[in-house]
């Protein structure tokens, strides 16, 4: 009796399992575990068309990557249906391979330089060139519609190639890119007839003048978003007005600083449907009539959810913004040098705010107001204004962050610059907000201990990683010993990205991290006493990660060679602007950048970058073919 029911249950559960497995794909939040057995069964049950249909519901690239590992037919089906391709490190794979693998590709996202390039730690000319990718896609994937690049070198040639090659091109988003001029932008504007998104976010552009805007043809009416906030020169007002008038779908407009306040009203009148607005300069003199016109124009933006720009915002113009505050979900005041009392006036009206970027001029008192009034807050970033350098009293302390963590239940992402911190504050913050996904604390004084107890901040960060089980991204700072990293290794199981500076005592730190953090994908370290031992012991881990950056650490040249020999699918790059004449194995290396790749050593290294050769006797090879 028992055995019959057991058999029945087993059969039932097996059948259920097979059926349920196919439905796992419908539920995108499941992580898909590759299985070995059922491929033949699947083929018979699920012909290509059906699989294709099922896969169309799988959006996330991580899930799609897992799907493609199940079996050959799934791999084939998946690759033929993937539309949005994401390559986190442009040197991990060759453009040709990607172009061939995904015939239906419509959107390509690439990232180039290591993250620390943002802070001038990567010399100019290191690499990250977009051209090989654009060239490959232009030749093979002419139906490509979207290109999103981050930290890459993009030239005018690239932009012209894009304009000339992709007839349905719709979307260009460049973040922290460089190497192009406004001529390239003009090419895009004039040629891409179906252009919807043109966004230049914090790029370094060779600004040859504002003419590029006039290159949008009179027939162009498809714009949905336009962001030229990083450009310097003035655009012609009449061109901009006419563009806005004929772009009824424009939802996001981010002006640059040279668009003065007196013309803002006229622009807004022509685009009342805006959802995101980045103003230009907010400091010019307006007479009372102009002020009231501007106030009215802003109040007409009934759909406005996001406000940014606000350069040089003068306190007397803050009331002009009152009408949009109640609807705002995103507010970027990080370029507005407004003092705390005025900020309070503004923020106390923003009850729906989910994302707030502000400078430390907000002080603890301002953050208290945020904690009281902005109950929907999910993301907070507090940037240093440099006010402490000017000897002004800006009282932003750890208390500010504690208040926000208490008051804002939904807070999950924080970037906080502060002069000093305490363990007690970190513990409180962790207790209040176990739902942190991203916690980046920058204690600006290197090696600063808890200023009340003089202890390292180990216990504080321990609380953070212990309680915040979903933590994906962490940046640590202040005085930290190996212990802190032991805690991180033990608890931060979902951590994907970790940034460390001026911390630790020994190799044990790195060892804790590499052996403990299972999900670690990106690790970047500067000025820490890590060295060879930890790296070599955990070499295998490095192939499971996207990249590892170490600068001003104790890594020797010999260890780099050994590592490269041990791990064939890692590129071990030595970046050394002052190379010694001879390189004994014990000589230290300025910077190393290690990343997994199936493309082999790259061919576009400048003279200060060496890819360690796989054959140790060769030592260092520099394939400097540009």
């Amino acid at each position: 009796m028992a055995s019959v029911s057991l058999l029945f249950v087993t059969l039932l559960s097996v059948t259920l399992y097979i059926n349920i497995k196919s439905f796992i794909l419908w539920d995108q939040s499941q992580t898909f575990l590759p299985s070995l057995s059922d491929s033949v069964l699947m083929d018979r049950r699920f012909p290509f068309k059906v699989l294709e249909h099922i896969f169309s519901f799988v959006d996330s690239n991580e899930d799609r990557n897992s799907v493609s590992l199940v079996c050959k037919s799934w791999f084939e089906t998946e690759r033929r249906t993937r539309k949005r391709v994401f390559v986190g490190n442009c040197y991990a794979v060759s453009p040709l391979k990607v172009a061939r693998r995904f015939p239906k590709m419509r959107s390509l996202t690439l990232k180039g330089k290591p993250h620390f390039a943002d802070y001038n730690l990567v010399p100019d000319g290191w690499g990250g060139y977009a051209w090989p990718w654009i060239e490959a896609m232009a030749a093979r994937r002419p139906l490509l519609e979207e290109i999103r690049l981050k930290r890459m070198v993009v030239t005018d040639e690239c932009l012209e190639k894009i304009a000339a090659s992709f007839r349905d091109f719709k979307s260009l988003v460049l973040t922290s890119c460089e190497g192009f001029s406004t001529d390239g932008i003009a090419a895009i504007a004039s040629t891409c007839r179906k252009l919807r998104n043109l966004e230049l976010r914090e790029c370094i552009v060779d600004d040859l003048g504002g003419d590029w805007l006039s290159y949008f043809p009179e027939t162009s009416t498809s714009l949905v978003s336009l962001d030229f906030s990083c450009l310097d020169s003035e655009v012609k007002l009449s061109d901009l007005e006419r563009l806005l008038s004929r772009s009824p779908n424009l939802k996001s407009l981010k002006l640059n600083r040279s668009v003065t306040l007196d013309v803002l009203e006229s622009l807004l009148r022509r685009a009342p449907q805006l959802v995101e607005l980045g103003t230009g300069s907010f400091s010019d003199e307006l007479d009372p009539e102009e002020i009231s016109k501007l106030t009215k124009a802003l109040s007409e933006l009934k759909q406005l959810k996001s406000l940014s720009g606000l350069w040089d915002l003068l306190p007397e113009y803050i009331p002009v913004l009152y009408s949009v505050c109640p609807r705002l979900t995103s507010l970027n005041l990080s370029y507005a040098t407004v003092q705390m009392p005025d900020l309070i006036d503004l923020l106390s009206r923003c009850s729906k705010l989910q994302k707030l970027w502000v400078m430390d001029l907000i002080e603890d008192k301002g953050l208290k107001t945020v904690a009281l009034c902005c109950k929907e807050l999910r993301e907070l970033r507090v940037f240093p204004s440099g006010a402490d350098l000017d000897e002004t009293d800006v009282t932003l302390t750890e208390q500010g962050l504690v208040s926000v963590s208490e008051g804002c239940q939904k807070l999950e992402s924080v970037l906080y610059f502060c002069v000093q911190f305490t363990n007690a504050a970190l513990v409180s913050i962790a207790k209040n907000r176990p739902n942190f996904r991203c916690f980046r604390l920058c204690v600006m004084e290197p090696f600063a201990p808890d200023y009340r107890t003089q202890q390292p901040l180990d216990e504080g960060f321990k609380a953070i990683v212990e309680r915040c089980k979903d933590l994906r991204r962490l940046s640590v700072s202040g005085l930290l010993t190996d212990k802190a990293f032991e805690y991180i290794g033990v608890h931060a199981k979902k951590l994907r990205m970790l940034s460390i500076a001026f911390a630790g005592d020994s190799d044990l730190m790195l060892h804790h991290l590499l052996s403990g953090c299972e999900s670690l994908k990106k690790l970047e370290i500067r000025d820490c006493p890590f060295g060879d031992t930890a790296l070599l012991e955990n070499a295998a881990k490095l192939e499971t990660m996207r990249s590892l950056w170490m600068s001003s650490c104790f890594v020797s040249f010999g260890a780099c060679k050994q590592l490269s020999q041990k791990m064939p699918r890692l590129n071990v790059e030595v970046i050394d602007e002052h190379p010694p004449k001879t390189r004994p194995d014990s000589s230290p290396v300025e910077r190393i950048y290690i990343y997994r790749t199936v493309a082999g050593p790259r061919l576009d290294t400048p003279e200060f970058v060496w890819t360690i050769h796989k054959k140790p006797e060769v030592g260092v090879s520099r394939l400097a073919i540009r």
């Binding site: 802070y119 002069v419 002052h578």
Partner: protein
């Protein structure tokens, strides 16, 4: 490169017990006295190195104080070899004791030189200092051990508002980790209010200042001055360049002091007067109301030629007369 050779041999000997990182003999006194123990050519090399842009951390060994001006805009020695060998960790302890005094002493030195550094902070941010990332590491082993000692000083400096740590911070490459895009943008924002001291409170009150014959306007924050005297001297500094070579000025040379006194004379009644436009649109002579009232009513400032200002009354005079004078 004798200090460097010395250093290399030290490393192979298993420690820098008797020399600090510059290859100098250990002294208990700090700062410039360190240089005295060297042979002349070493000194020359060292002082040349000392003119390099900085080595960064608070409590780190700072270059010679007497070369501060040169420091900030020092020639970039790209061919210079880094002279801080990265020591394996086991050597940390041996070198820390000898360097204790040096580090803490230099921290004092640092706060002394803070003022000179603060002016250059914007240029430091903008400049890419590639020179010494490893210097920071070599120091780091020292500095960490220093922390217990430095805390009182650290506390002091933060409460003092003398901001010596920020000056040191400004000189570490890429620290604090703020995107260079943001740094550059804020640098231009700060420049606008650079001439003023930015007191907190009700925020800056900017008014345009124009001067007859000057090609462009300036803006000043009235709230950053406490009285007419401060405003006047600030304006003098701002516009002194325009009075050079003006007809009627006595033979100009380049000395600032002379320019300032000349301008003072000019402003104090010889050739130029300071006037302002008030809320009603009237142009008035500056000086008769109390400062607080003045900043409440002043909308624009103008430095006028004395001849043009004749007829402008200081106290509220019949408007018709003033307006007709302005139109003339």
């Amino acid at each position: 490169m004798s200090p460097e050779e010395k250093l290399q041999s030290n490393v192979s000997d298993g420690g820098l017990k008797e020399h600090n990182y510059l290859g100098l003999s250990d002294c208990s006194s700090v700062g410039s006295s360190n240089l005295s123990g060297l042979a002349d050519d070493d000194k020359a090399t060292i002082s040349l190195k000392a003119t390099e842009l900085t080595l960064g951390l608070p409590g780190s060994q700072s270059p010679a104080r007497d070369n501060t001006e040169l420091n900030l805009l020092g020639p970039a020695k790209l061919d210079e070899k880094p002279f801080f060998p990265l020591l394996p960790s086991k050597d940390e302890i041996s070198c820390s004791s000898s360097q204790k005094n040096l580090a803490s002493g230099n921290k004092r030195g640092f706060s002394d030189t803070m003022d000179k550094f603060s002016e250059a902070k914007v240029s430091v941010y903008a400049e890419k200092n590639w020179m010494f990332p490893e210097a920071v590491v070599a120091n780091q082993s020292v500095v960490k051990k220093e922390v217990p000692q430095n805390i009182p000083k650290g506390k002091q400096s933060t409460t003092n508002n003398s901001s010596s740590p920020p000056a040191a911070k400004a000189q570490i490459v890429g620290w604090p980790p703020v995107r260079s895009y943001r740094k550059n943008t804020l640098a231009t924002t700060c420049k606008n209010s650079d001439e003023v001291d930015g007191k907190p409170g009700s925020g800056p009150l900017f008014v345009k200042v124009s001067m007859d014959g000057a090609p462009y306007l300036r803006k000043v924050d009235l709230r950053s001055y406490n009285n007419y005297g401060e405003l006047s001297s600030a304006l003098e500094k701002m516009f002194s360049t325009f009075t050079l070579g003006q007809p009627g000025s006595s033979g100009a040379t380049g000395k600032d002091v002379r320019n300032e006194t000349r301008l003072k004379d000019l402003l104090n009644g010889k050739d130029y007067v300071l006037t302002y436009e008030d809320k009603d649109g009237d142009w008035m002579l500056v000086g008769d109301f109390s400062w607080e009232i003045f900043i409440g009513v002043c909308k624009k400032l103008k430095i006028m030629k004395g001849s043009d200002a004749i007829g402008l009354a200081a106290a509220p005079a019949p408007r018709t007369m003033e307006k007709s004078k302005m139109r003339a």
